[in-house]
């Protein structure tokens, strides 16, 4: 197998689950990279030059060529460094399914967690109820399409859904503490089981942000968005 000599840089922020996704994918594949913490209140010239459209993290710079949007970056990593472990399945139908659930997770659940953080009182209660309904749909969907997730063991390599979901949902303890209890073993036992097992995976443990720091960050974000 030809050694792929390349220079990989990742612009990110420590608290962003989207950035953790890319870190997990690079580490899972054993790709050396340089991480650059970007200050979102004072974006660097280099960052803006390579990411003029959305100006968001994460941004992957591979041999000077930029790739942005976390889901797109993950597919790029899997296709360019196409050695194992493979992040996406080979079968086109399974690929369509993981893309579908990743899209659902991002558009509905992740957006839902922000909606909870930025609302108050009755509106917040409504946002939480809405989120929990969607989490149920997600949990049932994963149970049907990827039942192996429910018996996840941390000796397995991380795949697309583990990375997409785990990069933020494994921080559920911080979210439960800072914002609202949304991941609850009684309400969503299967999802809880998957995240609890995923959290213990060594790669996940070393890549997730520290709990207390994340709680403080979430609390500060919440209070700023009154």
């Amino acid at each position: 197998m030809e050694e792929k000599q390349s220079e990989v840089k990742l612009f990110g922020t420590w608290a962003s689950g989207y950035c953790t996704r890319v870190v997990l994918a690079l580490k899972a594949k054993g790709i050396p990279y340089r991480y650059i913490e970007e200050d979102l209140k004072n974006k660097s010239e280099l960052f803006l030059r390579y990411n003029p459209v959305h100006k968001k993290v994460p941004l992957l710079l591979h041999n000077g060529r930029p790739v942005s949007e976390s889901l797109i970056i993950l597919e790029y990593i899997d296709e360019y460094w196409n050695h194992s472990p493979k992040i996406l399945p080979d079968d086109p139908y399974k690929r369509a399914k993981v893309r579908f659930w990743a899209d659902f997770y991002d558009r509905k659940l992740k957006e839902g967690t922000v909606a909870i953080m930025t609302s108050r009182g009755k509106e917040k209660e409504k946002a939480i109820e809405g989120f929990l309904e969607l989490l149920k749909v997600f949990e049932e969907g994963i149970a049907k399409d990827f039942p192996e997730k429910l018996t996840f063991s941390n000796s397995q390599p991380l795949d697309f859904l583990d990375i997409i979901v785990g990069s933020s949902a494994c921080n559920y303890e911080a979210y439960n503490e800072a914002v609202a209890v949304v991941v609850d073993p009684k309400r969503n036992p299967l999802f809880f089981q998957w995240m609890t097992a995923l959290k213990e995976c060594p790669l996940m443990k070393e890549s997730l942000p520290p709990h207390d720091k994340l709680v403080a960050k979430m609390k500060s974000f919440q209070s700023r968005s009154v």
Partner: protein, 247 residues
């Protein structure tokens, strides 16, 4: 063999023999492809174009979105939306996911995504940009009026200009060949007349290079046959405006 005899031989001798020899499975196991769609949907058009590009025979089923069929609700219980591509009974939802699926399954003909990983990432990026920006900003143009509409027009034209910039002097977004980003964007052309008329502006005047690209795309059968007439879409938009009490 004499020409006039051949069909008779086939019908009376060859086909039954082959069937008898157990080729039934091979002869009848063609791919079964169904598309649940709604004629003015730009998302549905994307899938129609992809299927046509690949020369795939399929059954088109028109959905009444005010009265969704049991099949739609069964095949897309999560979003209950069209388009839904059903391949041998298995559903694929979300238009760009369906287009990629079509490209991956029928991979030996007319590739839609490029083969180079970086070019693929670029194609996905711009298709994602189109998904996030064009439908929503276009909708605001026909749904609003006055000051709000002026803002909406500015935003919508801004996005088109961004895409026009990305196209540059290339024939298509991916270069010489028609591909993923073209499939993602060109369906919105069928809505241009509606946007222009509701918003009193000209997309040709604002983005001439983009209109030249549209003309190139419309020369392809797969595109021309998949897009409805712009005036028909405009009539549909007028009905929607009436229904929602806009103007």
């Amino acid at each position: 063999m004499d020409n006039s005899l051949t069909p008779l031989v086939l019908k009376r001798l060859l086909v039954p023999t082959l069937l008898h020899l157990g080729f039934r499975k091979t002869l009848t196991m063609a791919d079964e492809v169904v598309l649940l769609d709604f004629w003015p949907s730009p998302f549905g058009m994307r899938v129609r174009i992809a299927l046509a590009e690949k020369g795939i025979k399929y059954e088109y089923k028109e959905e009444d979105l005010r009265n969704k069929s049991p099949l739609l609700l069964k095949m897309n219980p999560v979003h209950k939306q069209i388009p839904v591509l059903i391949h041998n009974g298995k559903p694929v939802n979300e238009s760009l996911i369906a287009v990629q699926y079509i490209d991956e399954v029928w991979k030996d003909k007319s590739p839609i995504l490029p083969s180079d990983p970086y070019q693929r990432a670029l194609a996905r990026f711009w298709a994602d940009y189109i998904d996030k920006k064009i439908y929503v900003s276009g909708k605001k143009v026909w749904q609003t009026k006055g000051e709000e509409q002026e803002e909406a027009k500015k935003e919508f034209i801004g996005h088109l200009k961004m895409l026009e910039g990305e196209l540059g002097d290339k024939a298509f977004f991916g270069g010489e060949c028609f591909g993923f980003v073209d499939v993602a964007l060109v369906p919105f052309y069928s809505w241009f007349y509606a946007y222009e008329t509701c918003g009193s502006f000209s997309i040709e005047a604002e983005c001439p290079k983009l209109m030249a690209w549209v003309k190139r795309c419309m020369q392809r059968d797969s595109v021309a046959k998949s897009l409805p007439d712009q005036h028909k879409v405009y009539d549909f938009v007028l009905q929607l405006k009436k229904k929602f009490g806009i103007e």
